[in-house]
Symmetry: C2
DNA sequence: ACCTGAACACCGTTCAAGT
DNA sequence: ACCTGAACACCGTTCAAGT
């Protein structure tokens, strides 16, 4: 470990804002966001708690910073991709990122200071829609629907009491708590579908995603060739 | 908050688990979930911190309890409602509830112990779908899509840095931080649409909801009268 | 310039006691 | 039975100092 003074990646590296934020993500990923304290982070970085305040003004700034780093992990689509595959690519990447950092999802609620990567991501989504021909109003609709679904799915996936792919026994023990007959539809869905060998809740993601993309595509072509009665969507 | 009972709702009422949980919701609603501590809750209830432990084993149990109380606020649809208006009614009610208790949304992620109201809500949604004729697999798809959208929209609405309806000036100050030209599509959408007088982000909710309900209706009728080529949804 | 020890006002929770 | 004071091991953060 402490062989020479060279490039050991241990605690000899100078502290920096970037190293601090990446350390914070590492702590949150492995021990949960609840375990991320100034003291635990300092220990992770081989430094004393007070040193952190030299690179960051307070813990809030750390939370803002790691959320933006999470957004930066979302892959941008290929430059020449059509709007639909661009949206699809982004959604799948975003879900993967939020799956790797589930603690980030609830955090997004309280962060009022979006960072550059967050703004870039949103700008890029809206840009894809606008260039595809969505009007401003339709782009706002589509953006809201798309992002709500992606975040909501990630939130739900993270809150699943059972990881169906790896621990069906846990699901069964939860099922067993259902007062018999109290939740018949939930019981049916769980035992006859969710607990079946091949089922993986994650697979639901692409189904919903394609339903939404189908709908957006329909709206787009409807706008191109409006009907005589001028009506838009249902209701 | 303190004025629901007929007699003095002050500190003279005996402490109970229900009064404790409702006090916790009152604190979270007015001061934020971050301000909900055993000490602040005790003060709200006119009691000493240690008294709380007589009705609840720890703070985790309080969080589980208030999440379930939030779910219990979601209005069940009329018994004779058709599936579509039942789903619509529930979604709108759920969004209203989560809007009143925005702190509950991130909390749902970490709660692995769903309470009776939570289970009843989910059972009721799945039941509506099953009775409408959705197969188990389709009900799982529809359930995932529907719930993801509702939670995701609420999450996004809660995380909006600007409350467009009441404080457009805040939005403008945030806009001003955008490095000029750095986020052109975001800037366009914000200045030319979101900041316009009549705009309320909340109105996006019903648009996306109806898109989703339209899609589900299409899936349901397609399942009733399958096409010759057997294809399902796009791609 | 960067790092740190001691200290302060907070947490959740245990334990032994009060009525 | 229900409530509580004192205490413990934690927090985030300030401040004055070290190199």
């Amino acid at each position: 470990m402490a062989a020479n003074g060279g490039a050991d990646a241990e605690k000899r590296v100078r502290l920096s804002r970037d190293r601090l934020l990446r350390g914070a993500i590492a702590v949150a990923d492995t021990a949960g966001i609840g375990s991320l304290t100034m003291r635990s982070l300092a220990q992770e970085l081989g430094v004393k708690p007070m040193s952190l305040y030299h690179h960051v003004t307070n813990k809030e700034e750390i939370l803002d910073g790691i959320i933006d780093l999470v957004f930066s992990e979302i892959e941008p689509p290929a430059a020449d991709a059509d709007w639909r595959s661009a949206m699809r690519h982004r959604a799948i990447s975003a879900r993967g990122v939020l799956g790797r950092h589930p603690w980030a999802i609830p955090l997004m609620e309280s962060r009022a200071n979006p960072g550059p990567a967050t703004l870039r991501y949103h700008d890029s989504v809206i840009g894809t829609l606008r260039r595809a021909g969505f009007s401003i109003g339709m782009a706002a609709h589509a953006f809201s629907l798309f992002d709500s679904y992606v975040y909501g799915f990630a939130l739900q996936e993270a809150s699943l009491p059972f990881d169906t792919a790896t621990a069906p026994d846990v699901a069964e023990s939860i099922m067993a708590q259902f007062p018999t007959g109290g939740y018949p539809y939930l019981a049916e869905l769980t035992t006859e579908h969710v607990l079946q060998p091949g089922y993986d809740y994650g697979d639901e993601f692409e189904f919903g995603l394609d339903v939404i993309l189908d709908s957006l595509e329909r709206l787009l072509t409807m706008a191109d060739a409006p009907r005589i009665d001028g009506s838009r969507s249902g209701r």
